[in-house]
């Protein structure tokens, strides 16, 4: 049996959460932040936050050159995923989940590809044309390309 509540308190007791928060607040931003990452052939280097939302909510299906968009995400409860949603999309993981569910179960869209680790995310993005996902900055290598989200653009 799986008891996520007990597990989450075991892995992240209150004190640990507090220290994580303190460390997060006092370390440089780049040390913990993620970047949007794409397959090297994706024809953009910068997108607005609203474009990023359209991509990750599975609303936008193709890049401007016609390549189909393939979205990779970690599980809803993964701290990297939660952090990515909040900081880069300005959304909460549960809002994203709700949007996907409504699309999938009303026939108006599809769910993103779920991966279980950052290594898997990197490997799949590097070999899938049109792929988009996110990685911690320390995990980015030359097999993928990071792009910036321009929050001020719109």
């Amino acid at each position: 049996m799986n008891f996520p509540l007990l597990e989450s308190t075991r892995h992240y007791p209150f004190v640990a959460r507090f220290f994580t928060l303190v460390i997060f607040l006092f370390t440089s931003k780049s040390a913990v932040s993620q970047s949007v990452v794409v397959h090297p052939n994706v024809p953009v280097s910068e997108i607005s936050q609203q474009e990023a939302r359209a991509l990750f909510t599975m609303s936008q299906h193709s890049w401007w050159d016609g390549t189909p968009v393939v979205v990779f995400v970690l599980s809803d409860s993964n701290p990297i995923h939660k952090e990515f949603c909040k900081k880069h999309l300005g959304m909460f993981a549960h809002q994203l989940r709700q949007t996907w569910d409504r699309k999938v179960f009303s026939g108006t869209g599809q769910a993103p590809e779920l991966v279980s680790t950052v290594e898997e995310m990197r490997a799949l993005i590097s070999k899938t044309p049109g792929a988009i996902g996110y990685l911690p900055e320390t995990e980015i290598d030359r097999t993928v390309r990071s792009i910036t989200i321009n929050e001020g653009a719109r």
Binding site: N2, Q60, S62, D76, F92, Q95, Q98, F105, G107, T128
Partner: protein
């Protein structure tokens, strides 16, 4: 396999060349195949009155299951279909039906604007919850607010056999979307029972109907607003020795919806004004027009990522010119008590997402009035109790 695959590819290519300028390779279209499904089992217990089966003794007669497939052979062409199984006490017959089956064509796509067309059986955008009302994971509670989303007449405006035109526009202040469905609604016998007082020898058939929704999304769903208007038309084909003539019914609901969805707190409210008229059924069913109203306020709070509590107050009036139901009682010479014309429902509920695939819920309702209960489940209106409690449990699995 390959011949069939090649044939499919050729078909899709031809299709795309006819309708669009196809630009991308078809190499990876098979990778876009997805399937999803769900099953929910519910338990319903009421102090008085029946809802979803013999609930006074505890009813398990409420099961929902669905399975869907989708494919995106071209980035501008999507295909999707869902089969739905439902068992709902005496509310409607146990059935397996095609919930939706559609072809989704994107006519225009840019980072700011998307315009497209969906053809086939398309779910109707009505309020916040209609399109995925049977999927427990997407509902805010076990039972949707029954004034706006009545399970008694759920098939009235569930889906359209026809098409949906949609447009989305990303503006500097948020995202706007407009969707319009044109098609024939899927009629069923429950409509006959509600509109024509009992199962009649003839058949109610859906006629050309319209549903439109304008929605606004601020900051990825932090604020969500929607306005729905619809005109749903049905016609009656009399049977043998039928006292009814070829009558028509029109349902014209207007729904205003608003939601705030924060990290922990979600606040939702919806207001419905509903015009209903029927005419030309002959002398045994005089022409009538009635305007009903319903609204609710709902608050949800996530205590943790896995546990959410909710509370809701909902009001439903069958007739805004007779909110107390007294005229109704007089007109029916006491056969239909006043409280059958309205319902006021206090709800509290708890949701536990045990894993991403399993979810459990518990819910308690304190209801005054029986306005949204079905006559098929409560045949004798004099045996109805105006003040009743409802308790329900739900276990749901999805993949």
């Amino acid at each position: 396999m390959t011949r069939f695959g090649d044939l499919m590819k050729a078909g899709f290519t031809g299709f795309s060349l006819i309708f669009f300028y196809s630009q991308q390779s078809l190499a990876d279209w098979k990778d876009t195949f997805q399937y999803h499904g769900f099953i929910s089992q519910n338990f319903v217990l009421t102090s008085e009155n029946s809802f979803y089966g013999d609930s006074e003794h505890g009813s398990f007669d409420f099961t929902e299951a669905g399975f869907n497939v989708s494919l995106r052979p071209l980035s501008r062409l999507g295909l999707a279909a869902q089969v739905l199984y439902r068992r709902a006490g005496e509310l409607e017959d146990e059935e397996v039906r095609l919930d939706y089956g559609l072809l989704d064509l994107t006519a225009w796509e840019s980072p700011d604007v998307r315009i497209g067309l969906r053809l086939g059986r398309v779910k109707n955008p009505y309020g916040f919850y209609n399109e995925t009302r049977d999927i427990a994971f997407t509902r805010p509670s076990i039972f949707l607010p029954q004034g706006i989303y009545p399970d008694r007449t759920r098939n009235l405006a569930l889906s359209s056999d026809g098409g949906q035109l949609y447009g989305e526009y990303v503006s500097p202040i948020g995202e706007f979307s407009l969707r319009g469905n044109i098609g024939v609604p899927t009629a069923d016998t429950s409509l006959e029972r509600v509109v024509l007082a009992g199962n009649q020898p003839g058949e109610m058939e859906g006629k050309l109907s319209y549903v439109g929704q304008l929605a606004y999304d601020y900051s990825g769903g932090l604020i969500h607003l929607a306005f729905t208007a619809a005109s749903v038309h049905h016609g009656y084909s009399p049977g043998l020795r039928d006292s009814l003539k070829e009558g028509n019914t029109w349902l014209e609901p207007y729904v205003a919806s608003a939601q705030y969805s924060g990290e922990r707190l979600t606040l939702t409210t919806e207001y419905l004004l509903r015009n209903f008229r029927s005419d030309h059924f002959g002398s045994s069913l005089p022409d009538r027009a009635i305007t009903g109203e319903s609204y609710y306020f709902q608050a949800g709070y996530r205590l943790t990522d896995n546990i959410e509590v909710m509370a809701r107050y909902e009001v439903f009036y069958q007739d805004i010119n007779d909110r107390s139901g007294k005229k109704w009682e007089r007109r029916t010479r006491g056969l239909r008590p006043s409280f059958t014309n309205f319902a006021k429902d206090w709800t509290v509920g708890l949701r536990w997402d045990i894993t991403p695939n399993w979810m459990a819920r518990a819910e308690y309702h304190r209801v005054h009035g029986t306005g949204w209960l079905a006559e098929t489940e409560n045949p004798d209106p004099r045996k109805l109790d105006p003040d009743w409690d409802l308790f329900a449990l739900e276990l749901s699995f999805r993949f």
